[in-house]
Symmetry: C2
């Protein structure tokens, strides 16, 4: 792969910025200058001074999202800090534009202190219509996101919910293919970080009726010490909280042990953990979603050898790429269009269902739309913005 | 004027954002997606993790400026807060793009606390190549700017220095027209806020040799209580500091009193203060730069009646519009091109001289280039970036 990575470096050196700004108003004569700037601009300013909600009607706030990171958990690179995280946040901003016509701007914070992150996001919020938190390490990311839910614009940690939503959509289609009901599934999730926690939460409401929360049969989350269960003395606060909605049978044991008879394996941890022999211990027609990047928890051919019926990874060079570019553009497009103050659980569920439904010609090699399918974001956006409306 | 202001409102309602983002990299196939985002983006990230200065070579930092305001001193509107200030900051971002190809983004802060402003700017700095402070009230603006001089990128309060630089450029050409040497000028400045303080500082170095600081003959700054002089008991810290470089003769009295025999009046305060009779008391061939907006300290025809030889205002409907759009795009273009860590006094002086020199066919009705002249910013930028280089 060195050639590929060198090419990426060359492209970045060449562009020096994957996004830029663009003027939406030509300044040709003095009248243009006076309208766009002083003195004319005083008029929209005065209108907003009377009612700050008007900022959404008169400024870029309507359509702008900050992509905020502290660089503490970037891709597979880990804690590389704010400067080194800029290329990722820029890439995300580019995808927001390309897939959902959203004006997103990277904000890379020179701090990893939770209070400072929370306070800074609060203080810069006026100009944005939404905040996409990105690559902030667990468990700090949970607290950051939770403390920002009251700022009047959606704050959405994509590594948690974007990943969880696209995984759930994949699971909707995969379970249909193998003829199992969602509420019959026994799911094992390896990885108790941002994504693992969020997917476990979403698995609480997977029934046909979106107004009633029907969970999967069971979900067990494993961390590096095996299954998270009530008997463990080493659990931090948020892992304890997880016990209230996972591991109903309170099973203990290693990943390999709890995987026995499971219907679904979801890997959101690190690569190269499982072999075909492990998959063979799972229930028939097992579903394997191995998201570690670039090396999945188990390679697709190895999982197939173990009898898995449906296999997805995070990679574009295998079928069934589970990529959250299928989610975040549509989620924010829908939230901005609805002027939603938060992204609720029902908006997330609506996104997962819309994404599953947007998949054409579902098959074992096609449980999700192609990540480059430009029609997906608008379908997701529509479902999300409908779910954002207050109930009748 | 109601029609004009209504038109501005309509334009703002129509655009809902005068700027947006633009993708500089087409995402056509999976290879594009992998290069711009994951996994390829890991390569430039790793390079920057080794050396954060590489962020200027590999990301939008090279060309990006934050337009930061707390909305405490917006145009003639005063303290209208961050939301109502967005249209101004957006307008500024648009002009940065249009005049100097700079990618600027508005950041309107939901606080007016100096510590919080300083801290927030520090924390969001990684992604920006420069910070344009805007519409922050005096004296807070002085402290905010001063405390941010060590963050590694230029921090420039445009209401202070942009205004001061364009005024000084106007004065260079006006004094040549009336045949007076800069160091012979007696100047009266009305307004001891952001702009008044900055112009008084720049008037310390106006001689032909940029390496030696030759001041004007005298500069007296007036606030609402008249001349700022050593005998006053009511002076705040920054006004006391001003005594070390203004009012050499330590004159007391009202604006009208100290204006007697002055060569130059600079108004950066409020409109409708002076009549022709006051101008008549000034020295022969008086220069009047009356910047209050929309109503100048004295209207041009009234100043002419009083015998003023050269008259400038902030307005586009009179000759000699003194508009800092002639300065800030070129200042930041030059600073970004030179990767300058601050904007020094010599960079400011270089900008003023370059702007004066960029004026073609200087006459009493043409002491500055037209604000829409797109060739000015690059001339200013070149001079600024040369002045940013370390001395031989």
């Amino acid at each position: 792969m060195p050639d590929f990575f060198e090419r990426s470096l060359i492209v970045h050196e060449h562009l020096r910025g994957k996004i830029g700004t663009v003027s939406k108003m030509p300044i040709v004569d003095h009248d243009d200058l006076s309208l766009a700037y002083t003195p004319g601009v005083a008029r929209p300013c005065s209108v907003i001074a009377e009612d700050k909600e008007k900022a959404r009607d008169l400024t870029l706030k309507r359509n702008s999202v900050a992509v905020v990171s502290d660089g503490s958990a970037v891709l597979g690179l880990g804690n590389i800090g704010p400067y080194a995280s800029i290329p990722v946040m820029e890439g995300k901003a580019l995808l927001f534009k390309d897939f959902a016509r959203i004006d997103a701007w990277p904000i890379c914070l020179d701090t990893q202190d939770v209070d400072e992150i929370v306070n800074t996001v609060r203080l810069i919020a006026p100009v944005f219509g939404g905040i996409n938190l990105e690559d902030i390490s667990a468990p700090r990311c949970f607290e950051v996101e939770e403390r920002l839910q009251d700022i009047g614009i959606p704050v959405f940690h994509d590594d948690q919910h974007g990943t969880a939503i696209v995984l759930l959509a994949a699971l909707f289609n995969a379970s249909k293919l193998v003829g199992k009901e969602m509420d019959s599934l026994r799911v094992v999730i390896n990885g108790a970080g941002a994504a693992g926690t969020a997917i476990a939460k979403l698995l609480r409401c997977v029934g046909h009726d979106p107004k009633v929360c029907t969970p999967v049969a069971d979900a067990i989350v494993c961390d590096s010490k095996g299954a998270i269960h009530a008997g463990r003395q080493d659990l931090s606060g948020y892992k304890k909280e997880m016990l209230s909605y996972t591991n109903r049978g309170n099973r203990s044991g290693s990943l390999e042990e709890v995987l026995v008879d499971a219907d679904v394996f979801i890997g959101v941890s690190k690569g190269d953990l499982l072999q075909a022999s492990h998959i063979r211990t799972m229930a028939n027609d097992a579903i394997v979603l191995a998201m570690a990047n670039p090396t999945p928890e188990i390679m697709p051919d190895e999982a197939r050898k173990g009898g898995a019926a449906v296999i997805g990874t995070g990679r574009s060079d295998f079928p069934n790429q589970v990529n959250n570019v299928l989610v975040f553009p549509g989620i924010f497009r829908g939230a901005l269009d609805a002027k939603a103050p938060t992204i609720t659980e029902s908006m997330k569920m609506a996104a997962a269902r819309a994404l599953a439904d947007a998949t054409r010609n579902v098959s074992v090699n096609k449980i999700l739309p192609d990540p480059l399918d430009r029609t997906v974001a608008s379908q997701v956006a529509l479902a999300v913005s409908e779910a954002a409306l207050p109930p009748d």
